[in-house]
């Protein structure tokens, strides 16, 4: 027997499946059962851009310490896809485990000497019990969950409880699933010594009241709470589930009790140009509106984004980033649209970006982003990504202050117009660069104006005069300065001692970074960390960069886009701001960050660390 990896509540199991085989719900069942035992997990879907019959993977990191980033490495491979067998077997850590269907004999050359084999005749067990083809396929998945539960010490009562919740009122389905689960459990109990597998789950109390949810679902719910009434979208991976979740939340929460009518309107538009046009039209007319898209959609929306910025119409855009450029890697994660969104469109344009770290912040920033778009009368982007958006992530529960009201910003009312208050659509009355607007139809004779993407004066009259243009552009710059003060502040995590080395990170890098920082703490490496949560950068970001000799910027793109933005906007010395890029489409890991940063540190420091 090869050496066996032994770990309790700290290992990675990867499922290799065939797309469309019903494995997804079985794998989620496996993950949730561990969660119910009080042990944090972090699962990730790894799926190519296909629908049925092709490979798909589900990777579960079991992590008592609550490290929710991807770890890297596989301790147990559940190899259910013959097509990817060779590469799946190759991926297992030496001493790890290969769980496979042993119904048919497998030639020894297809195994590895340094990997422990756990063969269970899944097909034989399934076929002996079920005759229907679809049943065979579905229950085989449940049978492997049953087998794994014995090998890894997962409490079957938790799985049965999950069945109970899932099949409430459908007792027949409940019974048949429990039966399949026990088929797997019984076979292992009777045929294998479970102690041969030294990866174990032990009940803990580290989950607390956290929830387990996908970022896209959370962002959609945030839009409901933020008062969005118009949603226009065009399907694009990995953002489609935002609009789909918004549809289902609205169906549940936004119908008038008496009439059954909808307090929202959702349009699946013909393309992204239309989606953003609908959002801008609705927001211009006083409704809260948003769209959800990904990189290629942003490219298409760019002209309209410039219009909204220059004509000062609110727009909330959820960008679930994926690998680019062009069609790029549609089902892989990246943070590679930072510059494309920050400076989207022709001319001198700058836009507000929000960087959520997890589903909780997707919810919070979605609601807040709608407020910010109204307050600043400009496009605001929620820069999430596939890793946050399409994976269930453990996070703090959603909270809402029932006293909170929607901040609609500077909107002049019919009463104010009637009272003779001066209305200049592009007139800065109090120095913050934000003018008043009126909604169409407000007053029969006062407050109407013409909205256009061409230049205009303070009273919205068309003008191509140089000074008039400059006056407007200066005010827009003032408005952007105001944004610096009202966007979410960056969050600092100082090192345990004084240091001149800092690291800046954002978005989905957060869990891996947290884990890497714990490692630095343990190794005595002093690095101050700052999690940037928005662009434009607030004073705290300026101070952080100024007060460190070296600042690493960890991000998931090739060119160090946030680094470029920091250097450009803060006028920072490029030699002091160093890029730590990760961009192969897999979520960044703590191992990668630690290696990269330790590799950059000066030799004496590195030796000290070793």
């Amino acid at each position: 027997m090869p050496q066996a990896v032994a770990a309790t509540n700290d290992f990675v199991v990867k499922f290799a499946n065939v797309n469309g085989s019903g494995s997804a719900s079985a794998n989620e069942l496996f993950a949730r059962a561990i969660l119910r035992m009080g042990v944090p997990i972090s699962p990730r879907n790894i799926f190519p851009s296909n629908i049925q019959g092709l490979p798909t993977w589900y990777e579960v990191r079991v992590t008592e310490k609550g490290y929710l980033g991807r770890r890297g490495g596989v301790d147990m491979m559940v190899a259910m896809n013959p097509q990817t067998w060779a590469e799946d077997v190759k991926e297992i850590t030496p001493g790890g485990y290969l769980f496979y269907d042993s119904t048919k004999p497998t030639p020894p050359a297809m195994f590895r000497d340094d990997v422990n084999l756990v063969g269970v005749p899944l097909t034989a067990i399934t076929n002996a019990t079920y005759t229907d083809a679809r049943q065979r396929q579905l229950f085989k998945n449940i049978i492997y969950v049953g087998a794994l539960s014995v090998l890894l010490d997962i409490d079957p009562k938790e799985i049965e409880r999950l069945f109970g919740e899932q099949f409430k009122g459908k007792e027949k389905l409940l019974d048949s699933n429990v039966k399949a689960l026990n088929l797997g459990r019984d076979w292992v109990t009777n045929n294998i010594d479970p102690s041969a597998v030294k990866l174990k789950v032990r009940r803990a109390d580290n989950v607390g009241n956290r929830i387990f949810v996908e970022g896209n679902n959370a962002a959609a719910l945030g839009a409901v709470y933020g008062g969005a009434t118009v949603c226009a979208w065009y399907p694009i991976t990995p953002s489609s589930s935002v609009a789909e979740a918004f549809i289902s939340h609205c169906r549940r929460l936004r119908h008038d009790k008496a009439t059954g009518k909808a307090k929202y309107a959702i349009v699946q538009a013909e393309d992204e140009l239309s989606s953003i046009g609908i959002v801008i039209g609705a927001a211009w007319n006083g409704a809260r509106a948003f769209t959800a898209t990904s990189g290629p959609g942003i490219s298409l929306m760019t002209e309209f984004i410039g219009l909204a910025s220059f004509a000062e119409v609110p727009a909330f855009i959820i960008n679930v980033q994926r690998g680019g450029p062009s069609t790029g890697m549609p089902t892989r994660t990246q943070q590679a649209d930072i510059l494309a969104c920050a400076y989207a469109s022709n001319g001198d344009t700058k836009h507000v970006l929000l960087f959520p770290e997890d589903p909780k912040e997707c919810f919070d920033f979605s609601a807040e982003g709608l407020d910010l778009a109204d307050r600043l009368q400009t496009p605001v982007f929620l820069m999430t990504d596939l890793d946050i958006g399409m994976n269930q992530r453990l996070c703090e529960p959603f909270v809402w202050d029932d006293k909170r009201s929607l901040d609609r910003g500077k909107v002049m009312t019919v009463e104010e117009l009637e009272a003779g208050k001066t209305f200049g659509r592009y007139l800065d009355v109090d120095g913050d660069g934000i003018p008043y607007r009126t909604y169409p139809g407000t007053h029969p004779t006062k407050g109407s104006y013409f909205t256009r993407g061409t230049t205009k004066d303070r009273f919205a009259r068309y003008s191509e005069e140089g000074p008039v243009y400059v006056d407007n552009m200066e005010r827009l710059a003032r408005k952007f300065d105001t944004a610096k003060k009202i966007v979410p502040k960056a969050i600092a995590r100082p090192a345990k001692g004084k240091t001149k080395t800092g690291v800046i990170y954002f978005g989905s890098t957060s869990p891996a970074m947290g884990e890497a920082l714990d490692g630095f703490d343990q190794a005595g490496i002093m690095i101050d960390a700052l999690r940037v949560r928005a662009y434009p950068f607030g004073a705290e970001v300026v101070d952080f960069v100024k007060s460190h000799d070296t600042v690493f910027v960890v991000e998931q793109n090739r060119d160090g886009q946030l680094r470029s933005l920091l250097i450009n906007e803060l006028d920072a010395d490029p030699t002091r701001v160093r890029s730590v890029p990760h961009y192969d489409g897999t979520p960044i890991t703590a191992r990668f960050i630690a290696q990269a940063i330790e590799g950059h540190l000066s030799p004496p420091r590195r030796m000290a660390a070793e």
């Binding site: 307090k263 239309s274 046009g277 007319n285 409704a287 169409p440 139809g441």
Partner: protein, 351 residues
């Protein structure tokens, strides 16, 4: 800037309508289009129609794309909010605006370049959605602002001012609109106010996607021999199938022309359209006949005008989406935000 005086109208300017406004209250800024531009006559027709319908000017939102036509909304309804959007994308902005407030009247003004070339996709889809709107294309077959290039509605074989023939097939917007699901489709000529004003009025009253293609000669670049969108060509080839009397549910509007064969169509807001038919074979409520006649006229080199297609009982986007009667932009926190209690339930389901 070119100043032009607007075409004279029958009503003296100072008479007030039932809403208490004079015709002047429906005017906008002085036009900067070329003297004699057909677009200015269309603006005048819009002003006249809104005045005659007793519309409150601020209850109209006017939207346009980019181009000569899309400049026009500045020149009518000065008390209305206007939005000059991006080239070819006015329909999506109008869709969003309409969703936000179903109570306003939405007047979209576009050109042939804006709607048939760069914006053909949005043109088609806004008709499909059945947006409650009046969509007017000021159609001159040419790009004016960029000085005389062909648009997609220029007829195959027609010749540009510089003498270049157009070898591409033309796009017929009225047929497109009918095929895409518009429920009110008309065509007229900027020089024919008698036909155009009642057509616009009927379109405003229509609770669905109303489209009017108005052939509007470009005096600068498309009014020469060899053009099929010139004043002379259209006057010679205009084949009007009907004239409309528009009868509101409130009062009957007297008309100054004799009735021919009459066809009355009741719309579901109670208003009646009375069509004075010039062509007995023409039934605008039958899509197949309408398309057939449009194709026949085109083959004969005629510009068929009038109310070409009408579904008197359309369903608009709001009806399809089953939205509340209150405009969405008037909903408040209590309507929109489900609060912590609902969130607690949601959180509980995610553990």
């Amino acid at each position: 800037m070119t100043y032009i005086s607007k075409p004279k109208l029958h009503h003296p300017g100072l008479l007030k309508n039932a809403a208490g406004f004079t015709r002047r209250d429906y005017e906008g800024a002085v036009s900067t289009l070329c003297a004699g531009c057909g677009h200015d006559s269309i603006s005048a027709a819009i002003i006249q129609a809104c005045y005659e319908l007793d519309i409150l000017p601020h209850q109209v939102a006017k939207l346009s794309g980019i181009g000569c036509s899309s400049k026009a909304p500045t020149y009518f309804l000065g008390a209305s909010h206007g939005f000059n959007t991006v080239h070819g994308r006015m329909p999506s902005v109008m869709t969003g605006a309409n969703l936000a407030n179903r109570d306003l009247i939405y007047m979209g003004v576009s050109g042939d370049g804006d709607s048939a070339s760069i914006g053909l996709g949005q043109f088609a889809h806004v008709m499909r959605r059945g947006l409650n709107m009046v969509y007017i294309v000021m159609n001159n077959g040419v790009y004016g602002l960029t000085k005389g290039q062909f648009s997609a509605t220029a007829d195959k074989g027609s010749v540009s001012k510089k003498g270049l023939p157009n070898s591409d097939s033309s796009i017929d917007l009225v047929s497109m609109a009918i095929l895409m699901g518009a429920t009110f489709v008309g065509r007229s000529f900027s020089g024919d106010k008698r036909q155009l004003v009642p057509l616009i009025k009927a379109a405003v009253q229509h609770k669905g996607a109303a489209f009017i293609d108005v052939v509007s000669p470009c005096v600068a670049f498309n009014n020469h021999a060899g053009s099929t969108k010139s004043y002379d060509y259209v006057r010679e080839h205009n084949d009007a199938v009907n004239f409309i009397d528009f009868i509101e549910s409130r009062t009957e509007i007297t008309t100054d022309y004799a009735a021919g064969t009459l066809q009355e169509v009741q719309q579901h807001d109670g208003s009646t359209l009375r069509l004075r038919k010039l062509n007995d074979a023409y039934d605008p409520c039958d899509k197949v006949t309408a398309l057939n006649q449009i194709q026949k006229a085109e083959a004969a080199g005629e510009v068929i005008t009038g109310l070409l297609y009408l579904d008197p009982l359309p369903k608009d986007l709001h009806e399809n989406l089953n939205t509340v009667d209150t405009p969405l932009n008037a909903l408040v926190e209590a309507d929109l935000c489900p609060g912590q209690a609902a969130l607690d339930k949601f959180n509980a389901g995610l553990r």
